[in-house]
């Protein structure tokens, strides 16, 4: 699929491509991790909801990979399934296996809130195809956030076991969550062109403030707002992710180049 709009000559193509890959890999990997709940979520209704939301994320990833492919003359499926684990650029937050339900809720909460701040900024991007796509994505992400906040509240206000697991997971994931805002390689060029309307560091501070307030309102232990985004936040890979990569590339590897 092609995007219709030809990017202007002044567009820092390489920088935009990097940004799109960061965004796409985040959505792709969280979509695959949480789809691991299909069949075993806490209750049937939640099973369907989690699986459906995971599909939404993979749908967003597909749209982003297609935009990237049209920009670089590549193929969206090849980008999605044809790379080695070390070439993925998702945030370190998404390296972790799904673990238990509280861990999944904690991770999703940190990711969805960070993504919401990032998408709010990108909806103002000077790169119009991206601004338009982000506007569409935000309409679905709004529901994801509502669904997620419902679970965050229930676990925080549930019994000691649920609350303890949630608090431990939030604390465990907090440092890696900052990596959603690890600046892309050519951030200065993106800022200058208005593709990225605000520096990642500013977005990160805004997000950390919002999360801090929510965590406090639920009476959960505070999270350190001074932890910054790690420089290797989008390049660090783990065995957990290598396992997931093996799962999600299995079909594509079985018959490379197949069409369906």
């Amino acid at each position: 699929m092609t995007m219709g709009t030809r990017p202007p000559d002044t567009l820092p193509r390489e920088a935009v491509a990097e940004l799109l890959l960061d965004l796409a890999d985040d959505e792709f990997v969280i979509g695959f991790w949480d789809s691991e709940w299909t069949g075993i979520a806490p209750m049937l209704e939640e099973d369907v909801a989690t699986s459906s939301i995971s599909q939404d994320e993979i749908g967003h990833a597909r749209a982003l990979y297609e935009m990237l492919a049209s920009l670089t003359g590549d193929d969206a499926d090849r980008i999605a399934f044809g790379r080695e684990p070390e070439d993925y650029r998702h945030a370190a937050l998404l390296n972790h296996p799904r673990t238990d339900w509280a861990f999944t809720v904690a991770r999703r909460y940190l990711y969805e809130t960070a993504d919401a701040v990032r998408l709010e900024a990108l909806a103002r991007s000077s790169y119009e195809p991206l601004a338009r796509l982000v506007a569409k994505m935000r309409r679905e992400e709004r529901y994801h956030l509502m669904h997620l906040d419902a679970w965050l509240t229930r676990l925080a206000e549930g019994g000691a076991d649920a609350r303890g697991r949630l608090a431990a997971a939030l604390e465990h994931l907090w440092a890696d969550a900052q990596a959603v805002f690890t600046p892309p390689g050519h951030e200065a060029a993106l800022l200058e062109a208005g593709v990225l309307p605000e520096p990642m560091a500013a977005l990160r501070r805004r997000w950390a403030g919002e999360v801090g307030e929510r965590v406090q309102s639920l009476g959960l232990p505070p999270l350190d707002p001074t932890v910054g985004a790690p420089t290797d936040g989008r390049t660090r890979r783990t065995d957990g992710f290598r396992w997931l990569h093996g799962e999600f590339t299995m079909v594509a590897r079985s018959d490379p180049g197949a069409t369906w």
């Binding site: 806490p42 209750m43 209704e45 369907v48 909801a49 459906s52 529901y143 509502m146 419902a150 229930r154």
Partner: protein, 114 residues
């Protein structure tokens, strides 16, 4: 979640396909409260863009009537049905007039029972 299951409620979901359509019973979901019931109803009956609007009703709020004495009384009730008025011969006459008059439509509507 076993502790939670006992506190779950059943919510009946009605969906409207497009504006103006009647709401039709779609099925039900189980959820502990209104908020999650809404999310689950949306996933089960709206995620494929098949619904214009949903009504999510706590089953406990539904007033059920199933008393056969009230709903299926033993006496002949045929006079309460439109079928109690025999209009077959009127319809046949109207059709005959329509055929005789070619494409012209007969204003036979006032013969039909209300």
């Amino acid at each position: 979640m076993s502790a939670r299951v006992g506190r779950d409620r059943v919510w009946e979901v009605f969906r409207q396909e497009t504006e103006g359509d009647p709401f039709v019973h779609a099925g039900n979901v189980r959820a502990p409260d209104e908020e999650l019931a809404t999310h689950y109803a949306r996933e089960f009956f709206g995620r494929r863009q098949e619904s214009h609007r949903l009504w999510i009703v706590d089953r406990a709020a539904i007033v059920e009537l199933r008393d056969p004495d009230l709903l299926k009384p033993p006496f002949d009730r045929s006079f309460k049905r439109p079928g109690g008025y025999v209009i077959r011969h009127k319809l046949e006459a109207a059709k005959a007039r329509a055929t005789a008059g070619g494409q012209q439509r007969e204003p036979a509507a006032e013969d039909a029972p209300r």
